[in-house]
């Protein structure tokens, strides 16, 4: 977990909650992000990613809980020019050329980067003399990124920075991002693309239904959902009892087949064969991040209740057998 000193060197969210009417968008999120970390907030649509980022930016006020950015409230960090943001639906201002828009935003910040450098770094130089409304989708996001970069902020908050861009464009964007931001910059971005989170973040915070359901490097997230699955044809066996086998964290039945999510596939396999020698068509494989994502963010009817249950770190593990 992040190493954040007591003076609040990074970003600290504590017991953060926000509701819109009946909808509880964010439910008591605790999160610490150390300076220099690249963190992905990953989750399905409506998970609460944008609301969380908006509260980090001071655009939305939490109902409960606090946000501290570099030891001060978000609004103070914004005023000091320490944050550069890309909003989900944001774009550069109209009626200006790209170079003009970047120059304009540079004038807001106390220590901006040279405009021409920013245009070159972001690849926006090639369309710097075009109007901001005459760009392709990928160019618009690049130009918008140039606006976030030119202020030379310490923290980037990027809400789905590559939405609407194709796979190649996304890779280009992140290469640019990497080369444009020196080491030591903190980056928090929201995405619902797993590969993007996996490829570009040091750490993934998985959010579902307004809660953090997993937090760690991609490998840890996979492990949390069970690192391997065993699939076997095994009619007429109680899945609940299979879920209790050593090394197994979850069991499901699909017709005659059972699927076991395993923390230790070797142990689980030998236990399964000892117990059910009749098992056939056995298949063992590693879990993809995508499966871990689905496992951990799966719809949970209990999640909508108003009970004050703990944030379920590693929710999903073993739940399917107990339900």
């Amino acid at each position: 977990m992040a190493n954040v000193d007591a003076s609040g060197g990074g970003i600290v969210l504590s017991r953060l909650s926000k509701s819109y009417g009946q909808v509880r968008a964010v439910r008591s999120i605790d999160l610490m992000i150390a300076p220099g970390e690249t963190v992905a907030l990953l989750g399905p649509n409506g998970a609460g990613k944008t609301t969380t980022l908006d509260m980090m930016l001071g655009l939305t006020h939490p109902d409960q809980g606090t946000v501290s950015v570099f030891g001060v409230p978000p609004a103070a960090a914004v005023r000091a020019g320490r944050i550069g943001a890309m909003l989900q639906t944001g774009s550069p201002p109209d009626l200006l050329k790209v170079r003009e828009a970047v120059t304009l935003v540079a004038s807001y910040y106390p220590h901006p980067l040279p405009v021409e450098d920013v245009l070159r770094l972001t690849g926006a130089a090639e369309f710097a003399d075009r109007r901001t409304t005459k760009l392709s989708g990928g160019q618009t996001r690049r130009a918008y990124f140039a606006l976030a970069l030119v202020g030379n902020p310490d923290l980037f908050i990027l809400d789905e920075p590559t939405s609407g861009i194709d796979v190649e464009g996304r890779r280009d964007f992140w290469q640019t991002m990497r080369s444009a931001t020196e080491r030591g910059k903190t980056i928090v971005f929201a995405t619902h693309y797993l590969e993007e989170a996996d490829a570009f973040a040091d750490r993934i915070v998985l959010i579902a239904r307004g809660r953090i359901v997993a937090d760690g490097p991609a490998t840890e997230i996979k492990a949390q959902a069970g690192s391997h699955t065993i699939r076997a044809t095994l009619p007429g066996v109680d899945v609940a009892s299979l879920g209790a086998l050593p090394g197994v964290v979850g069991a499901e039945r699909h017709g005659d087949a059972v699927i076991l999510s395993c923390s230790d596939a070797d142990m689980a396999l030998s236990a399964l064969l000892t117990r059910c020698p009749a098992a056939r068509d056995i298949e063992v494989r590693g879990v993809s991040l995508e499966e871990a994502f689905v496992e951990l963010t799966a719809d949970d009817p209990d999640g909508d209740s108003t009970s004050t249950e703990q944030d379920r770190g590693g929710a999903g593990t073993g739940e399917k057998v107990t339900r």
Binding site: A85, G90, L96, Y108
Partner: protein, 154 residues
């Protein structure tokens, strides 16, 4: 409180909308030159018509100069730009003051051109009122602000 770069681009954005140029500059000039020669010797309310109508058209152009920054406020809000600026150190009062100053400054070319148009029709040398035109213009200019962005942003 005043960011000159921001102000410069606010004004530039105004002139990039053709309607703004048409209504603040072209239309008042065209109408002035079209109407005035036919009524040169009239004296509505005791004022020589060329001066009277010059002031009226200047006020008309200045009114549009004051209205358009308000439209740009709406534009910025609708496009999400206003929201984005809230993630930057730009202060709301800097944004607001810039729009008000834009109203003022964009009216100046209108007033200068109408003044020249009036001069070309002999306003400056007219008895009974030639000397009044600076006052008329000042009034047209400052009062045009009541149409302007302060009300749109409140």
């Amino acid at each position: 409180m005043i960011n000159t770069t921001h102000l410069r681009y606010d004004i530039l954005r105004m002139y990039r909308v053709p309607t703004t140029v048409g209504l603040t500059i072209a239309l008042p000039l065209v109408v002035y030159y079209a109407v005035t020669p036919g009524s040169r010797h009239a004296h509505p309310e005791g004022i020589p018509f060329p001066l009277y109508f010059m002031t009226g058209m200047a006020a008309y152009g200045a009114m549009w100069a004051a209205v358009f920054p308000g439209a740009h406020v709406a534009r910025d809000r609708a496009s999400g730009w206003t929201r984005h600026t809230r993630t930057t150190p730009l202060r709301a009062d800097t944004y607001f003051v810039s729009k008000v100053l834009t109203s003022y400054l964009v009216a100046i070319p209108t007033l200068v051109l109408l003044g020249l148009a009036g001069a070309s029709l002999g306003v400056g040398s007219m008895p009974r009122g030639g000397w009044r035109w600076p006052g008329c213009f000042s009034s047209a200019w400052h009062r045009s602000l009541c149409w302007g962005s302060p009300w749109a942003t409140c």
